[in-house]
Subunit: 306 residues, 2 copies
């Protein structure tokens, strides 16, 4: 039994009002797998990098017991590179550079040892590649979580809609939920999206928390109010990784478990934004994680009798 994460493993160069980085390691699969590794010890990644990707960064995955057999290293090619600059409010950013490099013709190879996959995290990638991964697994996983973004709604909507039919949980932000459904009300948007395939929908609202829809129920999770958001890059991927990592640990798919999974995912995401890149989520202690989760408990609990 394992949790397979597919997505980008890449270089980012980030500029925020607090400073800027050189090329640092990023990518959806990087954030999501690191995050999941705090809850589950059989995390395996499927991704592609060039031979410019440093061995010590691959070792970092191994330090987190993340299986990298599915990480293709293309000789003579370069890793995906993204560079962006956040505006002062941290809610919007400009993309400065997108060099697809190895990602341009990424053909995801699923090692035989990954065929025990029970939990599949489809990190943000072309929907076509996400779909290929599902098809290449001999047995359908118990839970498939798909992350995506407005970019694919703009340029590959049909592929996205096809892939959507094959997954259990979709995680998108509020603007994307509105775009995908054509509905402004998030309740109406969720109802529509839940007819497109997924049984559960997570709407990520950044500093406003997240909403979970499914089984005719709604759960509203808070975000931890932070003094400063240092770098939002990867927060959504970290959330998704913590979410599915917790689900794999729970071992059972239910709305109740998903509520907790959202809290754990949010807790990990709240660490992610405190430093540049993966710096913070690379080095968390179990007690740091459980203390942070307890902050979510006290943040949102109140006592009203039935």
């Amino acid at each position: 039994m394992s949790l397979v994460v597919i997505g980008t493993v890449a270089f980012d160069a980030i500029e925020t009002p607090f400073g800027k980085t050189d090329k640092i390691v990023g990518g959806a699969a990087t954030y999501a797998s690191l995050s999941a590794s705090y809850f589950y010890d059989k995390v395996k990644i499927v991704a592609v990098v060039g031979d410019d990707f440093p061995q010590n960064e691959i070792d970092e995955f191994k330090n987190h017991h993340i299986d990298t057999e599915g990480l293709q290293i293309k000789a003579g090619e370069k890793s995906f590179f993204w560079s962006g600059k956040y505006h002062n409010d941290m809610n919007s950013r400009d993309t400065l550079v997108t060099d697809l490099n190895v990602l341009a013709d990424f053909d995801p190879i699923i090692p035989e040892s990954y065929q025990d996959c029970q939990y599949l995290m489809l990190g943000n990638l072309t929907p076509q590649v996400q779909q290929t991964v599902i098809k290449r697994l001999h047995n359908r996983p118990k839970l498939i979580v798909m992350d995506t973004m407005n970019f694919w709604m703009d340029i590959a909507l049909n592929d996205l809609l096809e892939t959507l039919k094959m997954v259990d949980v979709l995680t998108i932000n509020d603007a994307e939920a509105r775009q995908l459904s054509g509905e402004y009300s998030l309740v109406k948007a969720a109802n529509k999206i839940l007819t497109m395939g997924p049984k559960y929908l997570v709407i990520k609202k950044g500093e406003h928390g997240a909403l979970l829809f499914g089984e005719n129920q709604i759960f509203s999770a808070p975000a931890l109010p932070l003094e400063e958001v240092f770098d939002p890059t990867g927060a959504g991927d970290t959330f998704a990784g913590g979410f599915i990592g917790y689900m794999a640990k729970a071992g059972e798919v239910s709305f109740e478990h998903m509520k907790n999974a959202i809290i754990y995912g949010s807790a990990l995401a709240s660490f992610c934004v405190e430093k540049f890149g993966t710096e913070k989520i690379k080095n968390l202690s179990p007690s740091e994680v459980s203390e942070r989760v307890q902050q979510f408990v006290s943040l949102s609990s109140f006592q009203i009798k039935a």
Copy 2:
């Protein structure tokens, strides 16, 4: 012992994507006192209207056991009138007409029978008038809640800052918290505002819920996800009225009680937006209110062990 609400009692004409109204009854004191009346039966209002204000609308207050001795009726004058049009997203609106009328020289008279005030709700009004009410009470109430808006920050900031020093709780929205503090981070904004006088700060975030800051704690309350927001007019006033009404019922000022007060205020506000004006909050049954509150409980509860 009583709960005194000061604010506008007025006429509104509202246009939303769902329709438009003729002149209907509105005003901060109207919404707040109706809302508070569901939790506390000694609600008294201080406000001013012209003789164009219909007697049956005054009777409506009495039906809710709201004392109107402090409601001045100015012969030969007209009531305050506001007209506005909401944009499609319901988050922004254009003011079409503001006729101050009787409000231009409003001098709040506190009847002797109101001097038992223990809970004071300063609905949105000029800070100068809010301050006058505090000064005219012989004994300082146990809890003073002040609502205000960006308009007063723009044109009467010094008065607002003076009044702030005299109150216990300030309720404003997120944009206003940022404007008042000059800080983008709501945590930093709250820390700054809590040095300006109030011991507690409620930041209203509309469809994203509300945050309570005070006693070195933070509480995050969800908003009820709604299929449709029909008319947001008065939602903030309704929230504030429910908040202080619950506090008066609780009879004790504490962070724990305030958390519940925010949930009750949010529940009443969620009714308010379902119809035009006060239509919905005029006619709620106790069981409707408690069922709605239970929706907030299930919406936000999860089980994570310490």
